[in-house]
């Protein structure tokens, strides 16, 4: 298992082989507030990095979730359709949103490390 990587769109990515688990960061869930609905992507959907893939709705507003990498949606976190607040409770573990079959692993190198993400947040 590799360490988590982060995007400027406040998502985290964890690689397991050529599968990427993706969710939003704790910072993102805090600023979104109460999350009430996740419009999960369709399994099998092919996406490019930085493309809008699905939508997360907080009480306040809808926010786009982007794909961090090129790939195909392998699995979505069905638990979120019953209880989207899991994202508030545990954004970076149980609150994962989708898994991608990554087409080009080397793209991961463009993402931020935890230290870089923290620096990004402080800006």
């Amino acid at each position: 298992m590799s360490e988590k990587k982060y995007t400027e769109e406040h998502e985290w990515v964890k690689l397991e082989g050529d599968t990427a688990i993706v969710g939003i960061t704790n910072h993102a869930q805090e600023s979104l507030g109460d999350i009430v609905f996740v419009d999960l992507p369709a399994v099998g959907k092919e996406v490019k990095a930085k493309e809008e893939l699905c939508v997360i709705e907080s009480v306040k507003a809808a926010s786009d979730i982007y794909s961090p990498l090129d790939g195909e949606v392998l699995e979505v976190n069905e638990n979120l359709s019953n209880d989207a607040s899991i994202v508030n409770q545990d954004a970076e573990n149980e609150g994962w949103i989708f898994k991608l079959k990554v087409s080009d692993i080397s793209q991961v190198n463009h993402l931020m490390t935890l230290d870089q993400y923290k620096e990004f947040l402080d800006k």
Binding site: G33, F37, D39, V59, A62, S81
Partner: protein
């Protein structure tokens, strides 16, 4: 609007110290929620009590003279002379074609034997209304040294009563002027959440202590505009800028109950000719409540469609209802709609089925007379 141009309400620092998250609203930097979050604040108001600082709203005291009544009745569809003292009246400022310039709370009050019309109006409409007031009335004071605090929820009476000496006969829409720390406090049994509650107009310099006393009650928490919006939506109440604007008249907005019908034949009301005709005509649009058939979130500006994908209306307000645990919305549809047809909403270019719901979504809990 740039952040620099935002105004702060008087208790801004107090809210900051209480970990408020702020959003720009109607030119003010306003608390949207505090540490408990919008859903918990919402539920607290429905079960106990929540305190809102709504000091961004406009407040004005107008000398109760025949000239001022005549001038105000050009815009306001009430018979002000006949109104009882110490009662709040929900009403409107109307333009010449009956469109809503603002929705207001108007009451006649006495302060030390002097008689006034007291109006509370929307922050977003201050500029427009202040211009109208300046042009048409004499002897008035736009209040700038008072906070407006709303305490809402079933525990409100007992919480307020431990601080101010309320009369037990006070019911929904009554307003009283009370003495508090040698000042006058205007307190009405009203609010905009569908719950029992009070709105209190209190001098700036004693407001913080007053608010602190209220939230000493263990079941009362600070609440922001976030849950105020979901509370008023559950209660089916209209919001200026969403359900109400200068292109919609009160009849179309389903608010004809708030019109004094006798005024619709009065030439002094600037839009009497429009409203007197409209009140007897079947309206082209209708306000409805909606919820999604499947899970999705309804938001303002989403368009409504019939089975043939023809656009037949628009959502004006949408939110997540913490009580019903699903999305609810208010919107307008063309009245010609065949109600047996299925109804759809366009969510990010996908049509999703929705259903019509009764307004209010959640039963109102006002303290009416026995």
């Amino acid at each position: 609007m740039t952040e620099e141009a935002l105004q702060n309400i008087y208790l801004n620092n107090f809210h900051k110290n209480n970990n408020a998250k702020f959003v720009p609203f109607a030119g003010y930097n306003m608390p949207i929620n505090y540490k408990h979050g919008i859903i918990n604040e919402h539920i607290r108001v429905r079960t106990h009590a929540g305190l809102f600082d709504v000091s961004h709203m406009g407040q004005i005291l107008i000398s109760l003279t025949n000239e001022n009544i005549h001038a105000l009745e050009v815009y306001i569809p009430l018979d002000i002379k006949l109104l009882q003292f110490n009662k709040c009246n929900y009403s409107f400022i109307l333009n010449s074609h009956g469109g809503v310039v603002d929705d207001i709370m108007l009451s006649k009050i006495k302060i030390e034997d002097e008689e006034f019309i007291y109006i509370v109006y929307n922050a977003s409409r201050k500029k427009v209304l202040n211009k109208i007031f300046k042009k048409t009335i004499l002897n008035y004071k736009i209040i700038q040294d008072r906070c407006l605090i709303a305490l809402q929820g079933p525990d409100s009476f007992s919480v307020i009563n431990s601080i101010l000496n309320l009369s037990s006969s006070m019911k929904f829409l009554d307003i009283e002027i009370l003495e508090y720390e040698n000042t006058k406090v205007f307190i009405s049994r009203s609010g905009y959440t569908g719950e029992d509650g009070f709105e209190i107009s209190i001098l700036d310099n004693i407001a913080e202590n007053f608010v602190k006393k209220i939230i000493q009650n263990e079941n009362t928490i600070l609440c922001g505009l976030g849950c105020r919006d979901s509370l008023r939506m559950e209660a089916g109440l209209s919001l200026y800028g969403n359900e109400l604007n200068e292109e919609i008249n009160p009849i179309q907005a389903g608010l004809s109950w708030a019109l004094d019908k006798s005024r619709l034949n009065d030439k002094n009301l600037n839009c009497f000719h429009v409203l007197s005709k409209e009140i007897n005509t079947s309206q082209s649009i209708k306000k409805i409540g909606l919820s999604p058939v499947n899970k999705s979130m309804l938001r303002a500006q989403m368009t409504l469609h019939n089975e043939n994908n023809k656009k037949i209306g628009k959502i004006t307000s949408g939110c997540y209802s913490p009580i019903l645990k699903k999305s609810i919305a208010i919107g307008y549809i063309n009245k010609t709609l065949d109600m047996s047809e299925k109804l759809y909403v366009n969510i990010r270019d996908k049509l999703e089925e929705i259903q019509i719901e009764k307004i209010p979504f959640v039963k109102k809990n006002y303290k009416k007379g026995d």
